[in-house]
């Protein structure tokens, strides 16, 4: 399995996906540094604490708005053609006739993607939190930080599992479109929830919007994890930027649902892959 994990890492590095992402991330972080310095409110004497928290919350929300998208797209676009695309190209045929069980190939690829993209997510999380901390101070609750990091990183296995499952079912390009739209649906679910919280809406419509938002978030829980993570990092700060923060955050049950979603998608993908004809 080590051979397959190493081949996956090599693919991500040689195809320059990580390099391009890293360069663009550095550019973003430079801009984010400037934005954080501009928006932050440093009040040494501790007065206007609430406003300081609110601004910190806004900075974090901006950072993770970008971070969520980058991690999601990196996870989707690196793995969307891993099965169907490689089968169409004829790469898989020579590999799957080797004396290794198919599950080892599938698990090896999954581990390869999740480990490398997860490491990128970890670095991005630390960078955003550090820049925010420099300019606007940061929570000292390391438990919250650890949980937030785990929630942010959990996006990766959720997306990679769904993407590999889709790749067992659809063509390479078809799965790329499907996964992008699925992630977009989950993101839209969060937006619906925020709209419902911000705009004055009739109670009946509130209920309907809530159902739509929940269903969309359940269809792809990755963005919901991001929102839950931001809620933990900024709890108590309240609404500061319409449509970027606020709304009802996903619950703890939703986090368990997301974990179950990842396990189910991984298991179903593996089951299909073991039975697939190439």
């Amino acid at each position: 399995m080590n051979t397959i994990i190493a081949a996956t890492w090599k693919e991500l590095l040689r195809r320059k996906m990580l390099l391009l992402t890293a360069v663009l991330t550095l550019l973003f972080l430079a801009v984010f540094w400037y934005i954080a310095g501009t928006v932050a409110l440093n009040v040494p004497d501790g007065t206007r604490m609430l406003e300081q928290f609110a601004r910190r919350s806004a900075i974090l929300s901006l950072g993770f708005f970008f971070g969520g998208f980058v991690v999601a797209f990196l996870a989707i676009f690196s793995s969307f053609s891993v099965i169907s695309g490689e089968a169409e190209q004829g790469v898989l045929q020579s590999v799957l006739t080797r004396p290794i069980p198919r599950w080892k190939w599938y698990v090896g690829r999954w581990l390869g993607y999740v480990s490398l993209i997860g490491a990128y997510a970890l670095l991005l999380f630390v960078s955003i939190v550090w820049i925010t901390g420099v300019h606007a101070g940061m929570t000292r609750n390391y438990g919250d930080l650890a949980v937030s990091l785990l929630l942010f990183a959990l996006m990766v296995p959720v997306l990679v599992s769904a993407s590999m499952l889709g790749s067992s079912l659809f063509s390479g390009i078809g799965n790329g479109v499907f996964m992008t739209m699925l992630y977009g649906a989950g993101w839209l679910g969060g937006m619906v929830e925020k709209v419902r919280g911000v705009l004055p809406v009739e109670p009946d419509a509130q209920q309907t919007l809530s159902h739509i938002g929940v269903l969309l978030s359940l269809a792809m829980p990755a963005d919901g994890l991001n929102r839950r993570m931001q809620f933990i990092l900024t709890r108590g700060a309240g609404e500061t930027i319409p449509f970027l923060t606020g709304g009802t955050p996903p619950s703890n049950a939703f986090v368990w649902y997301a974990a179950a979603f990842a396990i189910f998608a991984f298991g179903l993908g593996l089951w299909l892959f073991r039975r697939k004809d190439f």
Binding site: T3, K10, R15, Q93, L96, T97, R98, P99
Partner: protein
């Protein structure tokens, strides 16, 4: 040839896809060290059958074993090398890295791997270009790399699906020589090829697939055991002589279709399907003995291509849905 455990044995092995295509009830036995050729037009089901044997496709029915192990099992896959028909290797790797990845998949220890990679690349003529990225390889080079990968684990059975289709004539000749060398080393070869001369040169036995069914099989020499066709260019000929020749020899002798003499002054071509050279000698003697002039004789042996065309002539052989 070790006939105790066949290298490949199938019984009514079938793979039918949802559209009705695939291969049906294929029963074959290939002995160890034998070279078996699989022929058929496009869409005949040859590649499906091979994919079923190497474990890429789950059979719809029947069974098969490779060296006593069920097809698709790890034990069976550990004894084979496979060159797929349509394949590419990751473009971001070099030829050596592709080989190294496959040594890892085969469980070859890193100490042995380096030497095997070097000799494998040399054997197929890639040599020092092994350090180049695959994206810089021509199709022929990629096919050579595929062959090197297939040979990497020193397999007992080699499944080769169109092994030299992308190569130039020199490359084809080299691959053919390599296959003959592998055969000498006792490897079992299962060759799917449109290049009939490869099958004719390398294989001991062959089978013909058509629309998913195996319609003929046997040894190459038996299947090509068409009588020698001999042509005789004769001057001073008359139709009465033809009847006399047929009566004297008891052989089917005809005037060539291309000959349409208006008078019998010009030489004509006679044709006869003969069992051996002695029959040709007797006809020669009879022609000369009658005072006719024998200008020349031509020997025409049927080639596999003629056999193939005859076998599929008049049949629906484009893989249309039944």
């Amino acid at each position: 040839m070790n006939t105790v455990i066949p290298a490949i044995q199938t019984h009514a092995l079938s793979k039918i896809y949802g559209n009705g295509r695939g291969c049906r009830d294929i029963t074959i036995t290939v002995g160890q060290g034998e070279a078996f050729g699989f022929l058929g037009p496009n869409g005949a089901g040859k590649s499906t059958f091979v994919k079923t044997l190497v474990g890429l496709v789950r059979p719809s029915g029947g069974e098969g074993v490779l060296l006593g192990h069920p097809i698709g099992s790890l034990e069976a896959r550990g004894r084979i090398g496979y060159l797929p028909e349509l394949y590419r290797y990751p473009e971001w790797l070099s030829g050596e890295e592709v080989m190294r990845m496959h040594t890892g998949l085969l469980g070859i220890k890193s100490g042995d791997a380096k030497a095997r990679i070097r000799s494998g690349l040399d054997e197929v003529g890639i040599g020092k270009r092994g350090s180049d990225r695959v994206k810089q390889y021509s199709k022929g080079m990629q096919q050579r790399l595929g062959l090197a990968c297939a040979l990497l684990g020193d397999p007992d059975i080699l499944f080769l699906d169109e092994p030299s289709s992308a190569m130039d004539p020199v490359g084809r000749r080299e691959v053919r020589d390599l296959l003959l060398e592998l055969k000498k080393r006792g490897k079992t070869l299962f060759l799917n090829s449109h290049l009939l001369e490869d099958v004719e040169a390398v294989c001991d036995r062959m089978a013909l697939m058509l629309n998913g069914d195996m319609i003929r099989s046997g040894s190459v020499s038996d299947m090509l055991k068409v009588k020698v066709r001999r042509r005789f260019k004769v001057g001073g000929f008359s139709p009465v002589v033809l009847d006399w020749l047929i009566a004297e020899t008891g052989l089917p002798i005809n005037l060539s279709h291309t000959a349409e003499p208006q008078d019998w002054e010009e030489p004509v071509w006679l044709e006869a399907e003969l069992e051996d050279e002695h029959q040709a000698g007797r006809i020669n003697a009879l022609i000369v003995g009658q005072g006719m002039t024998l200008y020349e004789t031509v020997n025409e042996r049927e080639k596999l291509e003629d056999w193939f065309m005859d076998a599929v002539a008049g049949l629906d052989h484009r893989g249309e849905k039944r």
